[in-house]
C-alpha cells in the first residue's frame, strides 16, 4: 500500500477532498428514548490515526456501529472517499474498505486462525481452494505488516493479544483501508497494548487510516494524530493531538474540571490487620497460581498489588476472601486465623470485618437482574436491620439504598431500577457503597475502576483514600499501574504467582514494569 497523498490529484478544490478518508455529516440516531448520537460531524483524514474519546455511554460505539453498518442512522450522510454512500450492513462497509476490530472479539473460538480469517470471505462453495488461497494471502499479510500468527492454531489456545491480531488480520484480509478499533486495549496487558500501538503505527505508515476509540486519555496522547471528543451523544470538539493536553481532553469529556491526580496525605500505618503467610493456591487444573506469598497489611494504609493480569492476583483475592480454597499457608484477620485451606465462610469473614469488592462485578459482585436496592444488601441480607422476622424489611432496605445512592452519587437515583441498567461506573459504586458503608477493618478491592468512566474514577479513588484515612486497611489489586501508583502507600508486584518485589509508590513506571515482566524479580530472587 503506497500513500498517495503527495502524488494525489492536483485539480482545484478536490485536493482537500482526496485527503479525507471518511466524513460523517449530521449523523443522528435514537434507540427508543435514548438519543445515542446527535447531529455528529466528523472528518477523518487519510493515513492518520484518529482518536475518538468519551466516557462510557457517550455514543462512541453507536457511531462506529453505524459506520460499520451494524445500525442505520436515522439521518445524516456517510461520505467515503468523496462519495456519499449507504452502508446498510457490514457487507457494504467491507465493500467500501472499512474494517472493524470489535471490543469483544468476533472470533469463533474452536476454529483455527485461518478459518476465522476466511469466514465470510471464502471465495468458493467448496473449502479446499479457499483454504489454500487464504493461506497464501495470510502469509503475505503477515510479512507485509509483521503480524505473525500460526494460521493453524485454535483461537481458544491463543493469548488475547494474538486473538486481537487475528481480528486485525481479518480486516486486512478483506482489504480494509480504514480500520476501526473499539476499545482495543481493554483486554490487553500493558506490554500487549504497547505492541498493538507499534502495529497501528506500522499500519499508518503503510497508508491505512485508523479510527481508535477509547476512554483512556493516555492512549490518545500516545498514538493519535487527531482526536475527537464525544459527550452525551454529541461531538464536542476535535483537536490535533499535539496541540491539546490530557487536562483539556478530560474536561471536554466530562464537561467539568477533573482532578486527575489524587490528593492524599501521609499514611499513618497502625497495627497489622491482615497477615498472609506462605499462601499457596492452585487452580482447577492443578496449576500453582499463588506461590508461597506472604505480606502484612496494616491499619491506615493502602497496599497495592501490581502485576499483569493472570499472575495470581485474582486467585490471591479469592483465597483471602474465602471464595477459593488454598493449598497451604495461613491468613490472620485481626490476629485470628482464617481457615483458608478448609472452609472459610465468606459470611463469617464479613462478620469479622473483612469486606471484598470483587474484580468481576458482573459475575461475582452483583446480580444484574436484581434491583439496585437488592444488590445493595447482598451478602448482608441476614443482617437484623434488613429483616422483619424471616421476611425482608423492604422499607428499611429502600431507605438504606436511598441513603447510599445519595452518598455515592449513584445515577439514576432509583433503587428500584434493575442493576443491569446502570452504567459500569454506577454499578461499581453500588458494590463499593455496599462494602464500604459497613465500615470494615479490612477492605479488599479488585480492579476498582475497570470499565468505569473518568468522572467516576475520581470519586472512587477519593473514597478509597478516605477509607484509609479512617484507619482502615486497604488491599488494592489493579492491572492499571497508574492507579496502583496513585493510591498505594506500598506496592508489591506479583509475577507468576510470586511476590517479586516491594517498592515505594514513587518507584518509576519503568522499574515497576520490569518487575511486572518478571525481569528484575528473577535477579532479585537470585541474589
Amino acid at each position: 500500500m503506497v500513500n498517495t497523498d503527495e502524488t494525489g490529484p492536483t485539480w482545484g478544490t478536490w485536493v482537500n477532498m482526496s485527503d479525507i478518508a471518511i466524513e460523517l455529516r449530521g449523523i443522528d440516531k435514537s434507540f427508543g428514548l435514548v438519543h445515542a448520537n446527535r447531529n455528529i460531524n466528523l472528518t477523518v483524514r487519510k493515513g492518520t490515526i484518529h482518536g475518538i474519546i468519551g466516557e462510557n455511554g457517550a455514543g462512541k460505539s453507536t457511531l462506529m456501529s453505524i459506520l460499520y453498518g451494524f445500525y442505520q442512522a436515522d439521518s445524516g450522510d456517510i461520505v467515503v472517499d468523496g462519495n456519499v454512500v449507504t452502508i446498510k450492513d457490514p457487507n457494504a462497509a467491507i465493500a467500501h474498505g472499512i474494517g472493524m476490530v470489535h471490543q469483544h472479539f468476533m472470533l469463533v473460538e474452536n476454529f483455527t486462525v485461518l478459518e476465522n480469517v476466511m469466514l465470510g470471505a471464502e471465495d468458493s462453495q467448496i473449502l479446499n481452494t479457499s483454504i489454500s488461497k487464504a493461506r497464501v494471502e495470510l502469509k503475505r499479510l503477515e510479512k507485509e505488516y509483521a503480524l505473525e500468527v500460526n494460521p493453524d492454531a485454535l483461537i481458544e489456545e491463543l493469548p488475547v493479544g494474538l486473538q486481537q491480531r487475528v481480528e486485525i488480520l481479518k480486516a486486512l484480509y478483506r482489504k480494509a483501508d480504514i480500520l476501526i478499533l473499539d476499545e482495543p486495549t481493554g483486554v490487553l496487558t500493558p506490554a500487549e497494548a504497547d505492541h498493538l500501538f507499534r502495529i497501528l503505527g506500522q499500519l499508518k505508515d503503510q497508508g491505512k487510516t485508523i479510527i481508535f476509540i477509547t476512554h483512556k486519555l493516555r492512549e490518545i496522547m500516545a498514538i493519535t494524530d487527531e482526536v475527537s471528543v464525544m459527550r452525551r451523544g454529541e461531538m464536542v470538539a476535535t483537536r490535533k493531538t499535539n496541540e491539546t493536553s490530557v487536562e483539556e481532553l478530560a474536561e471536554l469529556m466530562v464537561g467539568r474540571r477533573v482532578l486527575l491526580r489524587v490528593d492524599k496525605g501521609e499514611a499513618n500505618p497502625g497495627d497489622v490487620k491482615l497477615s498472609v503467610e506462605n499462601l499457596t493456591v492452585r487452580d482447577g487444573r492443578g496449576v500453582t497460581m499463588v506461590d508461597n506469598v506472604s505480606f502484612n497489611l496494616r491499619a491506615g494504609e493502602i497496599l497495592g498489588i501490581a502485576g499483569v493480569a493472570g499472575n495470581g492476583q485474582s486467585e490471591l483475592l479469592e483465597a483471602i476472601s474465602g471464595i477459593r480454597k488454598a493449598v497451604s499457608g495461613s491468613v490472620l484477620l485481626n490476629g485470628k486465623p482464617i481457615d483458608v485451606t478448609g472452609h472459610a465462610d465468606p459470611r463469617d469473614l464479613r462478620d469479622r470485618g473483612l469486606a471484598h469488592v470483587p474484580e468481576d462485578r458482573h459475575h461475582v459482585g452483583l446480580v444484574l437482574k436484581f434491583e439496585e436496592a437488592e444488590n445493595g444488601i447482598l451478602g448482608y441480607h441476614h443482617d437484623k436491620r434488613y429483616l422483619n422476622g424471616v421476611f425482608l424489611n423492604t422499607k428499611a432496605i429502600q431507605a438504606d439504598a436511598e441513603e447510599k445512592i445519595k452518598k455515592y452519587d449513584i445515577r439514576p437515583p432509583n433503587p428500584r431500577l434493575k442493576t443491569a441498567n446502570f452504567s459500569g461506573g454506577n454499578q461499581q459504586k453500588i458494590v463499593l457503597a455496599r462494602e464500604m458503608e459497613r465500615g470494615p477493618d479490612v477492605l479488599i478491592i479488585g480492579q476498582p475502576t475497570r470499565g468505569v468512566d473518568v468522572g467516576a474514577i475520581e470519586f472512587i479513588h477519593k473514597r478509597i483514600i478516605e477509607m484509609r484515612d479512617q484507619g482502615k486497611a486497604v488491599l488494592l489489586v489493579s492491572v492499571e499501574l497508574d492507579e496502583i501508583r496513585a493510591l498505594s502507600d506500598r506496592i508489591i508486584v506479583m509475577f507468576a504467582g510470586r511476590v517479586v518485589g516491594e517498592r515505594d509508590p514513587d518507584a518509576t513506571e519503568g522499574e515497576l514494569g520490569l518487575l511486572m515482566a518478571g525481569v528484575e524479580g528473577r535477579k532479585e530472587a537470585a541474589e
Binding site: S65, F70, I94, E109, L119, E122, I126
Partner: protein, 323 residues
C-alpha cells in the same frame, strides 16, 4: 454356528432399528451445530411418518409418500425456526410444543380420515419401500461366514437404509468441507462473528433448520413406509429423544453419531431378542431396563468415561444484536 447366525440376525436388526436414529441424530446435528436446540426431532419424525403413511395409502405411491413426509417435516421445522429464530422464543418450549401438537393431531387426523384407531391403512406393493437384494446374494448365502454377512447383513435392506449410512460421510463433508458448513458451525459458536462478517445469521439458521426437516422426513418415511407397512399412532416411541442422546453422546460429530446410533440400536435389538428369553446366571431381565439402557449409558458414560461433551457455545440462545 447357531450362535453365529444369532449374531448376524442381531446385527441385521441393529441396522434396521438404527436407521431412523441416524437420520434424526444427523438432523439434530445440523440445527444444533447452528445454535438451535431441537428437542422436536421426535415430533418432526412422527409428523413425517404420518404424512408418509397417509399419502402413500391414498396415492399408492411410495415416492409421493416420501415427498410429503419431507414436506411436513420441513414445515414443522420452519415453525420451530419461526418461533426460535425469528421470534427469539425458547427453543426448548417450541420443540416440546411441536412434539405434543404432532402426537395429538396425527391420531385425530388419522382417525378422522381412515377410521382405523389412529392407524393408516396397511400398505402393500408400490405404496411401500421394497428391500434391495445385492447381486448373487442368494447364490453366496451358504458360503461360510462371508456368505451370511454379504447376503443378510449387507444386502436386503431398504434404499433409505443405505441412504442413512451414506448421509454420515455426506453430512461430515457438508459441515467440514464446504463454505455452508463452515458458516453453519460458526453461527453455532459465535453468531456475532458471522454477523460482522456480513453473513445473515437468521437465513443461515433457517437453512440449518430446513436441513434437519429434510432428514427427519427421511426418518419418518422410513418408519411408516419401510420398517412398517403404515403409520401406527406414537410409532416413533421416543426415538427422537434417543437420537438426541446419541447426538450428545457423540459430542456433535457425524461419525461418532453413527457409532452411537448403532450402539443404541444394538441395545434395542438386544432388548427385543431377550424378551422372554432368560439370560444365563442373571435370569429374566425386565424389558424396561433394556429400553432405559441408552439413556442410562449416555448419563454414565458422559459423567465419567468419555469426557465432557461441550455443546455448541451459542446453542439455545436466540441471536440479538447488542443493545
Amino acid at each position: 454356528m447357531d450362535l453365529f447366525h444369532t449374531i448376524i440376525a442381531l446385527l441385521e436388526s441393529t441396522i434396521r432399528v438404527s436407521v431412523p436414529l441416524i437420520f434424526a441424530a444427523l438432523a439434530g446435528l445440523f440445527t444444533e451445530r447452528a445454535g438451535v436446540f431441537d428437542i422436536g426431532l421426535e415430533g418432526k419424525m412422527l409428523g413425517a411418518a404420518f404424512a408418509a403413511g397417509a399419502v402413500a395409502a391414498v396415492s399408492g405411491s411410495v415416492i409421493i409418500g416420501l415427498l410429503c413426509a419431507i414436506l411436513i417435516s420441513v414445515l414443522l421445522a420452519l415453525v420451530h425456526g419461526y418461533a426460535s429464530i425469528t421470534q427469539r422464543g425458547s427453543q426448548i418450549v417450541s420443540g416440546v410444543a411441536i412434539n405434543f401438537v404432532v402426537a395429538g393431531s396425527t391420531v385425530i387426523l388419522g382417525e378422522a380420515w381412515f377410521r382405523q384407531g389412529g392407524r393408516t391403512p396397511a400398505l402393500a406393493g408400490d405404496a411401500r419401500f421394497q428391500t434391495i437384494t445385492f447381486p448373487f446374494a442368494d447364490a453366496v448365502k451358504d458360503v461360510p461366514i462371508l456368505g451370511p454377512i454379504y447376503s443378510n447383513l449387507l444386502s436386503g435392506h431398504f434404499a433409505l437404509t443405505y441412504l442413512a449410512f451414506a448421509m454420515v460421510p455426506i453430512s461430515w463433508w457438508i459441515l467440514y468441507r464446504t463454505r455452508f458448513g463452515l458458516r453453519l458451525r460458526a453461527v453455532g459458536e459465535n453468531p456475532g462473528a458471522v454477523d460482522t462478517a456480513g453473513i445473515s445469521v437468521i437465513w443461515l439458521r433457517y437453512r440449518a433448520v430446513i436441513c434437519a426437516g429434510i432428514l427427519c422426513g427421511f426418518a419418518g418415511a422410513y418408519l411408516s413406509l419401510a420398517m412398517n407397512a403404515g403409520f401406527v399412532k406414537g410409532m416413533t416411541a421416543g426415538k427422537g429423544y434417543i437420537a438426541l442422546a446419541a447426538l450428545i453422546f457423540a459430542k456433535w460429530r457425524p461419525f461418532n453419531i453413527m457409532l452411537a446410533c448403532l450402539l443404541f440400536g444394538f441395545l434395542d435389538a438386544l432388548a427385543i431378542r431377550l424378551q422372554g428369553n432368560p439370560l444365563p446366571l442373571i435370569g429374566q431381565v425386565p424389558v424396561q431396563l433394556m429400553q432405559a439402557l441408552p439413556y442410562i449409558l449416555t448419563v454414565v458414560l458422559l459423567a465419567g468415561f468419555i469426557g465432557k461433551a461441550i455443546p455448541p457455545k451459542a446453542g439455545g440462545i436466540p441471536y440479538v444484536k447488542e443493545r
